[in-house]
Assembly symmetry: C2
């Protein structure tokens, strides 16, 4: 079965559902998913794609839809979470650094819990430090490394890779050349990986 790449951005609201349910889902479906943080804000800004700012009705709906679907997946959440987040770039640079060092996934999961359960904005130094603590890491040196030009370049390179694949929003699941946008397309992506079409 081809791999499923999970492109997400800390800062994306719907990514919460995928981040919280993917481990169980992979175990149930005997699937492997590669977690790939990128800078969705840069992509959407470039494409003039502004889904929620200045759109109160659509924004309210988004929170209600996430609330209903979180309940469906038995995921705890206190909504609405603070939105939008401030330092999206740094949060995803930390996550990407963590992916190369083996703690990127638990960091992301801890940070989303802090954001969606405790109500602390995910781009804040408080939230990131707490998430790193929960991964038994010393926040200050990690944040310093995540602010380095190398870490910035690494996130830019991943963001360019996502864009080259046709990814325009988060979360997206990519199987070969096929992009599946949205937590609600996870099953479509699995189906594509298994049989080459959506069932």
């Amino acid at each position: 079965m081809p791999d499923i790449d999970f492109w997400y951005s800390i800062g994306s609201t719907y990514s919460f559902l995928s981040i919280m349910r993917l481990d169980d889902w992979c175990a149930e479906n005997n699937a492997t998913v590669k977690w790939r943080p990128f800078n969705v804000r840069a992509v959407m800004s470039e494409q003039r794609n502004i889904p929620f700012a200045g759109k109160p009705v659509k924004s309210s709906y988004m929170w209600r839809d996430i609330e209903r679907r979180a309940a469906k997946y038995h995921i705890h959440a206190r909504l609405p979470a603070p939105y939008p987040i401030s330092d999206l770039e740094l949060a995803n640079q930390v996550a990407l650094l963590g992916m190369t060092e083996g703690w990127g996934k638990p960091f992301t999961q801890a940070l989303y819990r802090i954001w969606f359960e405790d109500g602390v904005e995910a781009g804040s130094e408080d939230a990131m430090s707490e998430a790193l603590f929960r991964c038994q890491l010393d926040p200050l040196p990690v944040l310093a490394r995540a602010r380095s030009p190398e870490a910035e370049r690494a996130l830019s390179a991943e963001t360019e890779a996502a864009t080259a694949l046709g990814v325009f929003g988060a979360p997206s699941f990519v199987v070969g050349n096929e992009v599946f946008w949205g937590d609600d397309r996870l099953e479509d992506a699995l189906s594509w990986a298994k049989v080459g079409h959506v069932v």
Copy 2:
């Protein structure tokens, strides 16, 4: 079980999937759905919600996603269909007139086939006339009635009713006070109607 209202607009691309699959889906699920055409363009314009214009990557994805999901539902389509359509108001005034006279649903289904299978833009007089012919109606007098101030007012009233419910896009399914946006939320709407939460 509470009713499910199906708010759609001729002119909405994702409404195609619902319009083509709802009859079979209702039979399979022993569900009743009320078809309610409205003017989604007026609502989205008011809310400055412009999902596809000037967004080529997102637009390409939309057609690919519809193509994959149409195949999943065994619905024939020749994509991309001409988009956007010209006279969205008139097409939906015809459909709403038809809802009061018993031919609104077959007219809508015929018009989407003409648009998505034959490639004739659904807001054109050619497409609307052909769809009315297929419903064994004489197009000229129907189109004249659909252009009347009464028909305009009727569509405006339905559009206001949709807005009051929190509908901001098409298709939307509404159960009581709950809005479910997108063809992919039809199962969530049914679940809500049956048990009051999403399963």
